[in-house]
């Protein structure tokens, strides 16, 4: 792959995360495992916006948390700037936190309800001792408020006194203070109305332009991800099924799941009603006992014998376009 496109900042190698679930009242002791993330390989370059799409429960949020060390992988590694963060101690990881940040879906619950906005913004400066004196702290806070377009009088408010859009911008401001290299955006606009969503997306784009962060943008909304990303990947039941530059993903979608997903997304254009498009049958299988072979085969219109038996490899089909499906051959 082209090195000219920038250095790798974060990299996941064969990343797995399983969660234990108790089976229920009458079958105690028989623990089962949710295969939330089951062998994910991907990298994010410096200054890149990488989009991750998938339906609920596909493991995309867990990928985000693994990338930040908020979850420990069951196996596999996450490299941040060349350092394997899954091997760091709790304290080492805590110090590395100023290099990265996360924005959540529900803005109200991502701010401490008992802290004034002012203190919420003051915490990161104090934890990492970013300011020499009180004067500098204040300047930093006011600067960052200007960046996200929040008025100063809101500093002495509590989170519940702000609107959803304002809360989300405060959550972004808190991360800006750390001036990190890498930010995970976990459905940052899913809980917002379309106008507020547009506002927050614009701010995120402008900040990216200005400071050159790398983003991992996680969402179930294909249109939003496509709008903001440089490259994007599609996840299904713990695995990435397709990864490509954003233009290629829509125009040259390969994996049958990606294609069904594209077909299922309603288009805001009444002349293109979906009537004629094929609708994917069935539902997402449980991540506790995922289907053998290719996980998509029970719903796949092109399923072959081999799909039921053996899992397809995730392979390069040329031009940085990867797909995990037997219908396509590796370019190498």
């Amino acid at each position: 792959m082209g090195k000219a496109e920038g250095q790798v900042l974060v990299k996941a190698e064969n990343l797995k995360r399983y969660f234990r679930v108790e089976a229920g009242l009458f079958s105690r002791g028989k623990a089962r495992w949710v295969h939330a993330v089951d062998g994910v390989n991907l990298h994010i370059r410096k200054k890149e916006i990488f989009g991750l799409v998938g339906e609920s429960g596909c493991g995309k949020t867990t990928v985000g948390k693994l990338f930040l060390g908020l979850e420990r992988p069951t196996s596999g590694s996450v490299y941040f700037d060349g350092v394997d963060i899954s091997k760091l101690s709790r304290e080492e990881l805590r110090k590395l936190r100023r290099e990265m940040g996360i924005v959540y879906q529900h803005p109200q619950s991502s701010l401490n309800p008992r802290m004034l906005i002012e203190e919420t913004l003051r915490r990161p400066i104090e934890i990492h001792k970013l300011a020499k004196n009180e004067q500098e702290k204040k300047r930093m806070i006011l600067d960052v408020l200007d960046e996200v377009g929040i008025e100063r009088y809101l500093l002495e408010r509590y989170p519940h006194e702000l609107s959803g859009g304002q809360q989300q911008r405060i959550a972004i401001a808190r991360i800006l203070l750390l001036n990190p290299k890498f930010i995970v955006l976990d459905e940052p606009t899913s809980a917002l109305d379309v106008l507020v969503q547009a506002h927050v997306l614009n701010i995120l784009s402008n900040l990216h332009e200005k400071f050159g962060f790398s983003y991992l943008f996680i969402s179930h909304d294909l249109d939003v991800v496509e709008h903001i990303s440089d490259r994007m990947a599609v996840m299904y039941v713990g695995k990435i099924v397709e990864l490509a530059r954003k233009k290629d993903l829509r125009r040259r979608a390969m994996h049958p799941y990606t294609r069904s997903l594209l077909a299922a997304v309603p288009i805001p254009d009444p002349r293109k009603k979906m009537k004629k498009r094929e609708i994917l049958r069935g539902e997402v299988p449980s991540a506790i006992s995922p289907p053998r072979g290719c996980r998509f085969h029970p719903r796949c219109p092109h399923a072959m014998d081999i799909c039921r038996k053996k899992e397809p490899k995730f392979k390069d089909v040329g031009g940085g376009h990867y797909v995990a499906c037997y219908l396509f051959k590796s370019s190498r």
């Binding site: 859009g165 969503q197 496509e226 069904s260 049958r281």
Partner: protein, 326 residues
């Protein structure tokens, strides 16, 4: 267009709270035609959901319908007694809700919950069928909504069903009386997109098969584009634009609608350049003077601050509430 099945005239639903009166629905006029899918769009808290509940007279605790008419096939529902209204629900008008996880009763089987309205309306009240036919009707309803293996599913409890199946189950429960009007309050918001596509498809088929008119409440313009024949846009308790589906997307008249459509991320829209307006949520207890939208409107004039605009027919069949077109 033939005589509409539902005519809402001057509907006002207020919530009287100790801190003030919330005018959630404040003078709404709306028609749903026969076999039509009418969309009602707007942001959170604009009153669209309360409008939907008002049609069935199931306004949440604390709210009251204070004025207006809701004419269903010429009959004013607001003049019916509670008992008469009850008999309309589930037979002539039904409703489907947003969250399938919480809209089915967890302690009864799916079959029981679907059988309930059949037994009450068709056996006890209308004497259409004998009690023995109820199980057959339940199976039919399950088949209509496309639940796989309906015989096995009759005895399932809601927790044994997946999200998409629950939503189909709820729809089955609501269409047993072949209602003429189905009020759908954000029916796919809680669902994944592949499931959403299935449910939207099912609703379109129901319209074809049963001839049901659908009153679809949603915040998602893309869903509107997929489903609706006609659309009304709601802002702060009032309609601000109403027209057929194509003109709404191609020549939106109201500045709010214009922003709304350009704020959707579309393939080709440039990063960082989505249309926006100041993100002020209108306070339904203290509404601005003049046009309710003027504090956020990019085209507001002095007149907008003073004079309330009226709904006018700017073009044939295209209504808008804005001074730009008077």
């Amino acid at each position: 267009m033939s005589e509409p099945i539902l005519r809402i005239r001057g509907l006002k639903t207020y919530f009287f709270m100790e801190r003030g009166t919330v005018k959630a629905v404040d003078g709404v006029d709306l028609d749903v035609g026969k076999k039509q899918i009418l969309g009602l769009v707007g942001e959170t808290g604009c009153g669209k959901s309360v409008t939907a509940h008002s049609v069935l007279k199931l306004v949440p605790y604390g709210g009251t319908i204070v004025a207006g008419k809701i004419l269903f096939e010429g009959r004013d529902l607001l003049k019916l007694s509670n008992e008469e209204m009850r008999k309309v629900r589930g037979t002539e008008i039904s409703m489907i809700f947003q969250d399938p996880e919480t809209s089915l009763d967890p302690v009864f089987t799916l079959g029981y919950q679907i059988g309930e309205p059949i037994e009450l309306h068709q056996v006890i009240e209308q004497h259409l069928i004998s009690p023995k036919e109820v199980p057959k009707k339940v199976l039919e309803a399950l088949q209509t909504v496309g639940i796989p293996d309906p015989k096995a599913r009759v005895d399932s409890y809601p927790h044994q069903l997946s999200g998409g199946m629950k939503q189909r189950g709820m729809i089955a429960m609501m269409i047993t009386g072949t209602p003429k009007l189905l009020v759908a309050d954000e029916p796919t918001t809680a669902l994944d997109v592949t499931i959403q596509a299935q449910i939207l498809d099912l609703m379109r088929k129901l319209r074809q098969k049963l001839g049901t008119s659908i009153f679809l409440i949603t915040h998602d313009l893309a869903v509107v584009a997929e489903m609706c024949d006609r659309v009304a846009v709601m802002y702060a308790g009032q309609l601000i634009e109403e027209t057929d589906i194509i003109p709404l997307f191609e020549q939106p008249l109201h500045p709010y609608t214009q922003v709304l459509i350009n704020a959707i991320p579309k393939p080709g829209a440039k990063r960082g350049k989505l249309a926006t307006i100041p993100p002020l949520i209108p306070n339904l207890m203290r509404l601005p003077r003049g046009c309710r939208f003027h504090p956020r409107c990019p085209k507001a004039t002095d007149k907008c601050k003073r004079v309330k605009p009226q709904m006018i027919e700017a073009e044939r069949g295209h209504l808008v509430r804005c001074h730009l077109y008077s």
